[in-house]
């Protein structure tokens, strides 16, 4: 069947509102009588709280309340664990320590909330925060991952024996045996540091308790409105039906907005109910740098074993993962790192142990990529080291090890972040790599152009990095599709949306099934009164999991439409077609009935309904994949470095993605462009600098450099489609793909540019300064 809507560059339904300033974000919510909150946060990364004196703040004109942990009484308890350790895995250590609403005894990271002031205006609240007097006993901060695990290290959590939060071992085959067979074994230490998600919209929450109706309404910048509703109801002793959580338009998520519950999410609804007044809290950018979760910090000790002809015999990767002060997100990120450690390569023997470490730094939860960029950086750095040692071509060694098309489904015999077996369902990896090579003109550049450029004294490098992305994990999402009497379609789903274009891509799926125009489909996401069940937008799963639920529900509605229309039009179902909002008899177009008329007929006001039928043209359906669909892609770049200033210019940037069925190429390209820009930040611009006392030293956009329009190259996007076998749409996720291979690609291109300098990059992110240092270290060696 030729698809009419799926796969088309359809303009987005949501744009006119966003473009005219009419889209509602959390900070746009205004309620009469609303109060404003500001938090007192710790200046220390690690300190015992000796006393808090809030009396002056309470006296401040315009202040309505000041709360500390003590004031919360029995309502003070830590946030819920989000992700428990895998129930099936053996030998797992996991110490769950969750974030608290307000610090009671000990501060565990700079920026942790200690008290909240609630006042008539935000200006007053912020003034009064400065009136709070706190006495601290500063403690030595735990910052470095390796030192944190030393026997005599200071403890982040005093009740634990060490700063070890979790430990887990996974293996496939027999690495040690493979190592014995190897012609070459390479060992490296790879260090990856933290970056920020830096969504343009900071977090925010508005809570409104209506005492008369006994309903609590919360507007929250969350990627997971339904779990927030469920958890808030449980904490406040309310029924889930008394709590409505709305995630309206969200100004970018990128992971941290899936974290729940943030301290503010624990405090603000509680305070609103207690004060019986609406309360708004909007994070400022500095708070965002401290109090919003971050990611990436890992230290890897890697070993790769190869045969002389460049085949990988085995990989061993023991690594430390920084979880910050608490570990609400369990093992998700390090499991993702393990799942991507082998890239898209056929590696039969793998051994990996990770240790998750508590430090006195901001909490770590997934940020776009979520452990995947680290895994890809590790394997791709090792591939480059191996190619150099073996005197092989960087492309050839990769091609030689790619999983061949006939090997799918390819089972890795380890578990992934969802504790499901890591299985790559489908793919044609070599074709993707070839297409990327072709698009960038790899051979021609290397043979003809690069030598000339080098003669001219230019430092120009080329690189190619293949990668996998596990996506679309369970457990499930759902959707309800309804044909309304107007003939328009209403769709409700439980996930939140942060700019991914769900209002359009989901509408395309429905339009395809029901033969209506895309802008006749109204999508509602992120409002818990509209849909009761769901988990959230994470792990590149929106289009895959919720998309397939939308597809399933609209397929059922289509059947209902055909059944009813068949009766009305007195024609067999297989002779009917759905088009332009009408059901028509195929050969007699004048014999037709509109969807609106059918919706009315399906919901009669009088008369009898046949037993066993449901009213209306509506269906609710769920989709839960057996395991996640795995996408594949390859990026290639040509980079020029100014050897004096270390400033870079990206001459070409090519991506080829195979994310299965493409719903909307326009949206897909946008996702990839954005991912690459974040990846480029992770490669060369964005590093959170913590000093040895756990102080973050670049907590502003003046010092933390988010990539701007002038640093971004034009990206050439190519596609190949290998349908996923795991869902009807054949879709695989792509939301994080753009970011994943960039640091690995960038490092390879730099080494290639400085081919005469024996530069080896074993860290990310770099910076112009750091690159200069590395080149000088190399000189002095």
């Amino acid at each position: 069947m030729i698809k009419k809507f799926i796969g088309k560059r359809v303009m987005r339904n949501e744009d006119p509102r966003l473009l005219t300033g009419q889209a509602q974000f959390v900070d746009d919510v205004e309620i009469p009588g609303m109060l404003h909150a500001a938090f007192l946060r710790s200046d220390y990364a690690h300190a015992r709280l000796l006393s808090i004196d809030v009396s002056a703040a309470r006296q401040h004109p315009g202040v309505v309340a000041v709360f500390t942990a003590e004031d919360m009484g029995d309502d003070w308890f830590p946030g819920p664990p989000l992700v428990s350790p895998p129930p099936t895995a053996k030998d797992v250590t996991f110490h769950s320590r969750r974030q608290v609403p307000l610090v009671k005894d000990k501060v565990r990271h700079a920026g942790e909330a200690i008290a909240v002031v609630i006042a008539e205006s935000r200006y007053i609240a912020e003034d009064a925060v400065e009136d709070i007097l706190v006495e601290f006993e500063p403690l030595e901060a735990v910052v470095d991952l390796e030192k944190a695990l030393e026997v005599n290290s200071v403890l982040v959590h005093d009740d634990l024996e060490s700063n070890l939060a979790a430990q887990m071992f996974q293996q496939k085959g027999d690495y040690e045996a493979a190592r014995q067979q190897a012609d070459l074994v390479i060992q490296r230490r790879i260090v990856i540091e933290r970056g920020a998600a830096a969504a343009m919209e900071n977090r925010g929450i508005v809570a409104h308790w209506d005492a008369k109706s006994q309903h609590l309404t919360i507007w929250d910048t969350t990627q997971a409105p339904i779990p927030i509703r469920n958890g808030t109801a449980a904490r406040l002793g309310l029924s889930e039906h008394q709590v409505r959580v709305i995630a309206p338009f969200i100004g970018g998520g990128f992971g941290p907005k899936i974290m729940m519950f943030y301290a503010e999410e624990l405090v603000i609804p509680w305070a609103a109910k207690k004060l019986n007044r609406p309360v708004k809290w909007i994070e400022d950018r500095r708070e965002n740098f401290y109090a919003t979760t971050q990611e990436r910090g890992q230290v890897h000790d890697v070993e790769i074993a190869l045969s002389r002809d460049g085949h990988i015999l085995g990989l061993k990767d023991n690594f430390l993962h920084d979880t910050g002060a608490y570990d609400p997100y369990g093992l998700t990120i390090p499991l993702n790192t393990q799942s991507h450690d082998m890239g898209g390569y056929d590696i039969k023997n793998y051994s990996s142990e990770f240790k998750v470490v508590f430090t006195n730094k901001t909490i770590v939860t997934p940020v776009r990529g979520a452990g995947r960029p680290q895994g890809i950086f590790v394997i791709e750095r090792m591939m480059d080291a191996a190619a150099k040692e073996l005197g092989m071509d960087a492309v050839e060694i990769r091609k030689r090890n790619l999983i061949p098309p006939e090997a799918f489904p390819y089972e890795h015999k380890i578990i992934d972040q969802a504790f499901a077996p890591l299985i790559f369902d489908s793919g044609n990896y070599k074709a993707v790599v070839d297409k990327a090579l072709d698009m960038i003109g790899y051979d021609k550049f290397v043979k003809e152009e690069q030598p000339h450029l080098r003669v001219d004294g230019k430092y120009v490098g080329i690189a190619i990095a293949p990668f996998v992305e596990t996506t679309g994990v369970g457990p499930y999402e759902g959707a309800r599709v309804t044909v309304e009497a107007s003939g328009k379609i209403n769709v409700a789903t439980g996930i939140g949306t942060q700019g991914q274009g769900h209002f359009t891509s989901f509408a395309q799926i429905v339009a395809e099934q029901l033969g209506v125009e895309v802008n006749d489909v109204r999508i509602v996401t992120g409002d818990t009164t509209e849909f009761h069940w769901g988990t959230g937008t994470f792990a590149s799963r929106g289009a895959v999991v919720a998309g397939n639920a939308v597809h399933a529900a609209s397929s059922i509605v289509r059947k209902k439409i055909l059944k009813l229309a068949s009766k009305v039009l007195e024609a067999p179902e297989d002779e009917l077609e759905l088009e332009d909002g009408q059901v028509r008899v195929a050969d007699i177009p004048q014999k037709s009935v509109s969807l609106g008329e059918l919706a009315v007929l399906a919901n009669p006001l009088r008369g009898a309904v046949e037993p066993g039928t449901e009213p209306g043209l509506e269906s609710t359906a769920y989709f839960g994949p057996q395991y996640g669909a795995t996408a594949f892609g390859t990026h290639a770049m040509i980079l020029e470095v100014d050897p004096e200033t270390m400033m870079i210019k990206i001459r070409r940037y090519v991506t080829v993605e195979d994310c299965g069925t493409v719903l909307n190429p326009l949206i897909l390209e946008g996702q990839i462009h954005g991912g690459v820009s974040m990846g480029l930040g992770n490669a060369y611009y964005e590093k959170l600098h913590f000093d040895e006392n756990g102080q973050l030293l670049n907590a502003s956009f003046a010092d933390y450099l988010v990539v701007s329009a002038t640093e971004m190259p034009r990206i050439e996007v190519g596609h190949l489609e290998t349908r996923s076998t795991l869902n009807e749409l054949g879709a695989k996720g792509v939301g994080e793909a753009g970011a994943i291979p960039v640091p690995a690609l960038f490092a390879q291109a730099l080494e290639n540019a400085f081919h005469d300098r024996k530069l080896e990059i074993l860290e990310m992110p770099l910076s112009p300064n750091r690159l200069f240092e590395l080149l000088n270290e190399e000189k002095s060696r």
Partner: protein, 149 residues
């Protein structure tokens, strides 16, 4: 953050020492000092107004003098807190005679900062602290020269 430097005063070691140990003189020399009170033999309390880039605020804190070897050396410990964060520092100061009428001061120390001054002001902290030290020492030298004149 480490601080290190030296400065040549136009006066004898005894003169320099006497001046450095006089809180009234110190108070006029450290830029932004609003108040410096002696609270013990080797202990002072006071307030200092600091501006580092976009961050401005008052720190109140204590200054301790230890390991005193008059007129040769001492160790200074500073602790201050304010609405824009905190700072803690420790420095060793040594004076040596430089000819008949000059004195060389060498200082090494370490400063820890936290809160807004660290997260937003860090980039400028180094420059600001160096310039504050220079200003302070220049002023001291002025006073020294005036008093000897």
């Amino acid at each position: 953050m480490k601080l290190e430097g030296e400065y040549t005063f136009d006066g004898t070691r005894e003169d320099v020492w006497k001046m450095v140990r006089d809180p009234q003189v110190l108070a006029t020399c450290v830029p932004g000092t609003q108040n410096l009170r002696m609270t013990g033999e080797n202990e002072y309390e006071g307030e200092i107004q600091v501006r580092i880039g976009p961050i401005a605020g008052t720190f109140s804190g204590r200054l301790l003098v230890a390991n005193e070897v008059p007129p040769v050396s001492c160790t200074l410990t500073v602790e201050g807190t304010g609405k824009v964060g905190f700072l803690k520092g420790r420095g060793d100061v040594a004076l040596s005679e430089q000819g008949a009428s000059q004195t060389l001061m060498k200082y090494t120390g370490e400063v820890q900062i936290g809160g807004k001054v660290a997260s937003v002001g860090q980039r400028l902290f180094d420059t600001v602290s160096k310039s504050m030290i220079k200003q302070g020492l220049d002023k001291l030298n002025e006073i020294l020269k005036t008093s000897l004149a």
